[in-house]
Symmetry: C2
Subunit: 300 residues, 2 copies
């Protein structure tokens, strides 16, 4: 089945202890769609400026990603983010943000996208995410990401959104901020009380926790000595997770758990180089081999 | 097979967001031996003062722990530690330490203990740990714990110790301090280069990483909403780990991995109440049921 993602397309400038990139292809919808493209047909909705290199769109198309929902705003500039990672690289220091065309992004789904069964609302204002949701017609699974900013300034809209989606993805600090619970299991349970069927709490280098009414489990990150750039890890995780679910067309507990494992493994490739570079050097067969390794790591 | 532990016996005063205890039974060798007692015969070597309650020794004896190596120093006071946990409870603020009889502890193994095949050197000065090691005759597996203090003030002795043991257990911050590597996989590999067959890096609420020349894997902590007091979690982990290995009399990779899982599960019981209280309400059957749950959590 096909998978729709609505989110940001960015030109990222990133510094880590392992190097620097300038105006590299990034953004939540970019990482998500590239990661998901190993599993299923992906439909991308986003906005860029006239400065967005043709080669970047071609790269996405080369993975079979449908970019007919990618709007090029005349006279506009693409969203730019620059950040720096130090030490354990668990969080970025944002150096500069230029929203540019993203600041007035009011996504309209192409008619051919409104029946997409699997939908991912990448991080964005809850008001915008809800407007997108209203444009979808037949949905099998809707998952949303969010961030601390929206918990602070659009909490009511966010609470409404959480009520409307099937799954919510957020990181540990955001889960604590949203629920005022320090213990992550308790925080996750409070999110479930807000409406969704499941919640995924991302813990950076420590993996991710999944909670539903039926079960709670943690999947550790795939251990790597060569973590080069964590940018996009969370969106790559979500892309692998949703991509696998769309590929099997199912949301039963067994599929959700395997999707968590795929998300973890796909994210582990992403962090091994800047931007989409490591993804460009992998394929589904290598992802499946690492999944097998990951499975055997946790078998006892 | 039997298991020897040499380490501290303490009277702990602990504050957490969930309550307070005063002069409760604690110490590395206490948590370790109680945790290991679910699996194999345990021999404990330590020192206490005349103020050490008889009931505490009886509690250890009631689990079959051989306390004939527990020295009561005349006129002395038992080691006391008091600490406070806040927020995510990942680390304690030490409020007071009174070494008392532990300050001059020079452990001598009872003759009947020198042939114990499995040996755990709980956290203590590397010089002391090495003196104990020299007293052991036939050893199948020796594992040592350490802490930041010894990395700072007895680094040379610690390096010698690490060369002599089969396995080293330390936490993430200590691994980084010892090796000057921020990435934990790289840090673990550097520890392996120092001599031991394996290293276990404890990550608190995020579980533990195992590294040997053959494999690297992470086991997440068992997810719990009711974490009451993390004191002794690392020693309980080590007790479950070594106890299981001693019970099967093996140190092959399959046994080591299952031991990591048992250590994780045993530690999860420990943190659910203060001191040894939760341990006192469990048994091997319940531990095995949680191990089954843990296994199914990570099966996909």
């Amino acid at each position: 089945m096909s998978l729709l993602v609505v989110g940001s397309i960015a030109l990222d400038s990133v510094q880590t202890p392992h190097g620097v990139v300038t105006d590299a292809l990034g953004g939540s919808a970019t990482y998500f769609s590239y990661a998901a493209s190993y599993f299923c047909p992906v439909r991308l909705v986003g906005v860029v400026g006239e400065d967005f290199p043709v080669a970047h769109r071609e790269l996405l198309n080369s993975r079979g990603i449908d970019t007919s929902g990618l709007v090029v705003e005349k006279g506009g500039s693409t969203f730019r983010w620059s950040g720096k990672y130090e030490g354990d690289m668990n969080s970025a220091d944002t150096l500069e943000v230029h929203l540019n065309v993203l600041g007035t992004f009011d996504p309209e789904l192409p008619a051919s996208f409104t029946d997409t069964p699997f939908v991912f609302l990448a991080n964005g204002s809850p008001a915008m995410q809800r407007k997108v949701l209203k444009q979808t017609k037949t949905r099998k699974l809707v998952v949303a990401d969010t961030m601390n900013l929206w918990i602070e300034i659009q909490r009511d809209e966010l609470v409404e959104l959480i009520r409307e989606v099937d799954g919510l993805v957020l990181n540990d600090g955001e889960a604590r901020m949203l629920t005022q619970e320090i213990n992550l299991v308790s925080a996750g349970q409070k999110v479930l009380d807000m409406g969704p069927s499941f919640v995924i709490i991302k813990k950076g280098e420590h993996g991710a926790m999944f909670l539903s009414r039926e079960e709670t489990f943690v999947m550790p990150a795939f251990p790597l000595a060569d973590v080069v750039d964590p940018t996009g890890a969370g969106d790559s995780f979500a892309g692998g997770f949703m991509g696998y679910l769309a590929s099997v067309g199912s949301t039963d507990p067994t599929s959700l758990k395997k999707a968590m494992a795929y998300g973890t493994v796909v994210a582990s490739f992403n962090v091994q180089d800047f931007s989409l570079r490591r993804f460009q050097r992998t394929d589904r067969a290598e992802i499946d081999r690492r999944l097998d390794t990951y499975r055997s790591m946790m078998s006892f």
